[in-house]
Symmetry: C2
Subunit: 448 residues, 2 copies
């Protein structure tokens, strides 16, 4: 026999059970997005390379999957032309959902009514080295508001995070930071140019301790005075508002920094007034996406399962600038479907019902019995019950095995005897108990 076929490395098939579970996650997320007024959007899998190149840094450019121009296969090209692939590839696969979204907004800006609230759930492709938990094809699940600077948008995103993980049953903590505050800290201690270094150092506080952080900061070119000014920030404690009050003193010299503090005060107070279930913490070490976020930064971690962040995002003030449309501010978050899947599998949070696609299987004992079964099945299906009949009158054992492997909770038996008596035997596959009911009572038993 020919060699067993396979999928490209870093890609996956999703079996019916995996699909049902993934669909459960996506449906839950979507249902929340919709109640907040976000509308669905989809963009093509391929974009022009001119749209993608230069948007993700040199590393990102290398990780783009490029699509060979149809027809010509690079014949008659110089090695140089081949090396940069520009002549043989004009299209590439979507690397994330953000750049295509920015492209969409610019391209369709005359049709869009701003503020534009959209969600987008589609796969993206990256030529990363595949490894555990990292794939070359994976879904992103983004929700963004574009065209509004109101902090209410940040607050609604926090509410969305709260609602989604409550529905999924995952206990989480939401960490928040603000790019303006981080800049303010750096500016206040006279090292505006060292914002990244300082944030990275603060990030290590828990791991390596205060003294080592100080040493590292000196190593990264900060002077003694700056480091001592930083000290109180490294020792911040208390509630979010206490932290913010303390911060306001320390970085009072930075206008930008104070602006960031005001933003966070507004956000936290609204969240408190509206009330959310998950804890929301100011975390100055949170630095994700620091190179493009300009305001609030979000990150969500699961409390009962170690897997890193399962959701994150922030405010970006110039998303569409890269396509020539300046001053359009947006804020958004992205849910990590694969990690959420792993968390829910690890903690066994998927409802049992998600795994059984078919609720009842009718055994097949031949033509007459089959026809009687099909009439009942039609009624069940009209009532929205997923029902099937084994397509052949195979051995009972074989048909039962099929029901078991498919985890079908009910089996209905209509043999010649049942047919004569006009009754069906309904077997509950979990409890094993059987009962005989009239044909028109089968639905009632299964819906019990």
């Amino acid at each position: 026999m020919a060699q067993k076929p396979s999928v490209p490395k870093g890609t996956r098939d999703f079996s019916p059970v995996e699909m049902s579970r993934r669909q459960y996650i996506f449906d839950t997320v979507k249902s929340v997005f919709r109640t907040y007024g976000f509308a669905p959007l989809e963009t093509p899998a391929m974009e022009n390379l001119s749209t993608l190149l230069g948007k993700y840094g040199d590393e990102g450019d290398k990780l783009l999957f490029k699509i060979l121009n149809s027809g010509e296969y690079g014949a008659n090209l110089s090695q140089e032309e081949l090396r940069n692939a520009s002549k043989i590839c004009e299209k590439g696969l979507r690397y994330d959902l953000t750049v295509p979204f920015a492209r969409y907004v610019v391209q369709h800006r005359d049709e869009i009514s701003f503020p534009f609230k959209r969600f987008q759930i589609q796969p993206v492709w990256r030529a990363d080295r595949p490894q555990k938990g990292r794939y070359r094809e994976f879904y992103q699940c983004d929700v963004d508001v574009i065209g509004s600077r109101s902090l209410l948008n940040e607050v609604e995103l926090v509410q969305i995070v709260d609602a989604v993980f409550a529905k999924l049953g995952i206990r989480t903590v939401l960490k928040m930071n603000n790019r303006k505050i981080l800049y303010g800290i750096a500016e206040a201690i006279g090292h505006a140019d060292k914002m990244i270094d300082i944030t990275v150092a603060i990030d290590k506080l828990e791991k390596i301790g205060l003294d080592n952080v100080k040493a590292e900061l000196l190593g990264r070119g900060l002077d003694e005075e700056a480091v001592s000014q930083l000290q109180p920030i490294l020792e911040l404690e208390g509630t979010n508002s206490q932290k913010l009050d303390k911060l306001a003193e320390v970085i009072s010299s930075s206008e930008e920094g104070l602006k960031g503090i005001d933003e966070m005060r507004t956000i936290f107070s609204m969240i408190e007034a509206l009330g959310v279930a998950l804890p929301v913490e100011l975390d100055l070490s949170l630095a994700r996406g620091l190179n493009y976020y300009t305001g609030a930064i979000f990150e969500v971690k699961a409390l009962d399962y170690a897997i890193g962040s399962i959701c994150g995002g922030g405010r970006y003030d110039n998303l569409t600038g890269i396509f020539g449309l300046p001053d359009v501010s947006g804020v958004g978050i992205s849910f990590g479907a694969d990690r959420i899947y792993d968390v829910m599998t690890g903690l066994e949070l998927f409802p049992e019902s998600v795994d059984c696609s078919t609720q009842v299987l009718f055994m097949n004992f031949g033509e007459a019995e089959q026809m009687a079964s099909l009439r009942i099945i039609s009624e069940l299906r009209k009532a929205g019950i997923a029902a099937e009949i084994y397509p052949e009158s195979a051995k009972m054992k074989k048909q039962m095995e099929y029901a078991n492997r498919r985890q079908i909770p009910y089996v209905v038996i209509i043999g010649s005897q049942e047919l004569d008596e006009g009754v069906a035997t309904v077997k509950n596959m979990r409890s094993g108990e059987q009962q005989q009911v009239a044909f028109d009572k089968v639905a009632a038993v299964i819906c019990e």
Copy 2:
């Protein structure tokens, strides 16, 4: 400003309204598939070229989108190696859902419990010349049963077609044919090798008339006797069973042909016994997919909108043979989402509710009013009502325009006066009528 960005030719963005309508179609189809016990499956967008090449004929191979190997861009390769692209591309984009499904079944045959009933709704990519109604990226929506030769599967697919188009409100006719009958006709008149020619000629009957068809058949190498034997077949009339009876006489010499007739008799009689709403017609001119279908062939046409077939499929006896797993029979159909979309748009069959993502917009008149609104909104969302508030306290006119452009049916106004009186003004944007209600009665008004 930079040049307006665009998408690659033959690809599309799907705006929120388009997405909601497409989602309505997919959700309807899925809900029917599920009640028949079909489970969802997804495969990667990219497959190894070894999986795809040679499965769609030379034309198909040319239309595959090939993905450049990451890292190396074909440098240091001979023109010959480049011409066949084998060295620089090992992966290609999915061309349809059938071959990846066959690959999946062979690869996972030990985990699958047969008969395997799956549906798959994913985009496919073809480097066709783009033209009206033909795209380079489009969704396919396939439902197949594999591992069962029972004709009950054909019958259930007919029921599925009936249920789907009834739910969508599209009046359709289902045409059926059988590869075995077409072969039987050719065999019976002594031209087994001319099955295709004969079918093509029969297909032209309506357009060019009996005499011209005869002339064409002679032109295609049939002798006078064969053509005269064919005459009664060209003049078949009456019900499906009358046609089949007549056929049985004419092609009685072909065992294969009689087998096909028996199959169709069984299928039609079961359909009749179970009862379906849509007309099901035997149509000997139906020849789609004749090169791989081995039994029943299906095609669905809309009755009230001219657009060609909107759904089709058939029985294939050796799908997985191409991957070394012989003798696995399957039958399936594919729904043409894009054409169904066009039919429903043309006939205005989409429910109004599909187009409005948000049911109610709260005007924003400042902090205090906003906070009162947000409390009500939280309750509405908990009740599953899609509600949003304009994020800034912008000019009333601007906020109303936003509600109109988004086609939001209800607007709620809580200004300073309403706030004092503890009432909200609810405006029905369609009728224009307004009413004042207590905060906790807003939901009731909107759900009326």
